[in-house]
């Protein structure tokens, strides 16, 4: 077998690059539309006082709103950070899988898990941010966890352990 690196399928590379584009656009939008985003989130939270436990006393409510807005901003930042990182993780790990996995099916499943898991996981942070004004910090986090972080993060973890096992196997056979 050749020592040269093999290019992963074009579709996986495209997903990774589009994810990096989304991360860049997200980071830029976060800075450019900071005021508008904060105003929107605050407006939605004020429209759902029962969700956030707002009592109508300014001193109490402002503290609650501030905490939720910090988490809202953190979700956007974490999306930017994870989308940049996972784009690179997809490129690197699918290249390793394309190079080291011999069976066509094994290679295919591994690359699908790495690509889908890596691309889906960061979207959980975007979803969490969007959910915070409507459902609160904890409920928003719980929804994002069940619907995005666990399935997509799980796919990435399974594929990475599988890949690690494959590399160990290769080393042992040398």
């Amino acid at each position: 077998m050749s020592d040269a690196w093999r290019l992963p399928p074009l579709a996986a590379v495209l997903v990774a690059v589009v994810l990096i584009v989304c991360a860049e656009a997200g980071g830029a939008s976060m800075v450019r539309f900071r005021v508008e985003l904060t105003r929107w989130a605050r407006g939605v939270m004020l429209a759902h006082p029962e969700v956030h436990g707002l009592v109508g006393v300014r001193d109490v409510d402002e503290r609650i709103l501030d905490e939720a807005l910090v988490k809202f901003d953190a979700g956007l930042r974490l999306f930017h950070l994870h989308a940049e990182g996972m784009g690179l993780v997809i490129l690197a790990t699918t290249a390793v899988a394309a190079t080291l996995a011999r069976g066509r099916r094994v290679r295919g499943v591994m690359i699908v898990l790495l690509t889908a898991g890596g691309a889906g996981y960061p979207l959980g942070y975007l979803l969490w941010s969007w959910l915070i004004p409507y459902h609160g910090i904890e409920r928003g986090k719980s929804i994002a966890e069940w619907f995005v972080w666990m399935p997509f993060g799980g796919a990435t973890i399974v594929a990475l352990w599988w890949l690690a096992g494959l590399v160990v196997l290769r080393l042992a056979r040398r």
């Binding site: 074009l10 690059v17 990096i20 584009v21 860049e24 656009a25 980071g27 830029a28 690179l88 490129l91």
Partner: protein, 144 residues
Amino acid sequence: MSQGKAGTERWAAARVAANAAAHGVSGSAEYDDEVRARAVYSAEAGLSFFHTHAEGLGLILFFTSTVVASAVPWRRARALLWGLLGLGSLFPLGYLVYGVAALELGRDTGIALAETWILTPLGSATLAGVLGLAVALAARRRRA
């Protein structure tokens, strides 16, 4: 950054004092302390952003330019994408300017200068580069 934190804070505070007019320092100790703390915080944030973005963009340049070399078959498109990605990889330097300008020109003016003249153009170059790469990959996939 972590070893030199105390020194950086002292230097930043000294620069605020040296550019008192730009920072709107009033002579009221309570107000001035607040102004100084915000300016020093911005300078430290600039350094911290420089660190994280330089680490990340170095890797992004490395991987995306490798993908360009491997997967974009058109010579001129490759050169254009490398140019954009290479230029965009200088983006983190904008955060160094951000930190220094916030101290020299006043917090808001300095940050606005770095954002308008350095971070936005270089960030746009990166965005155009990766977007161009996505379009090139989609075009190649369609042709295949």
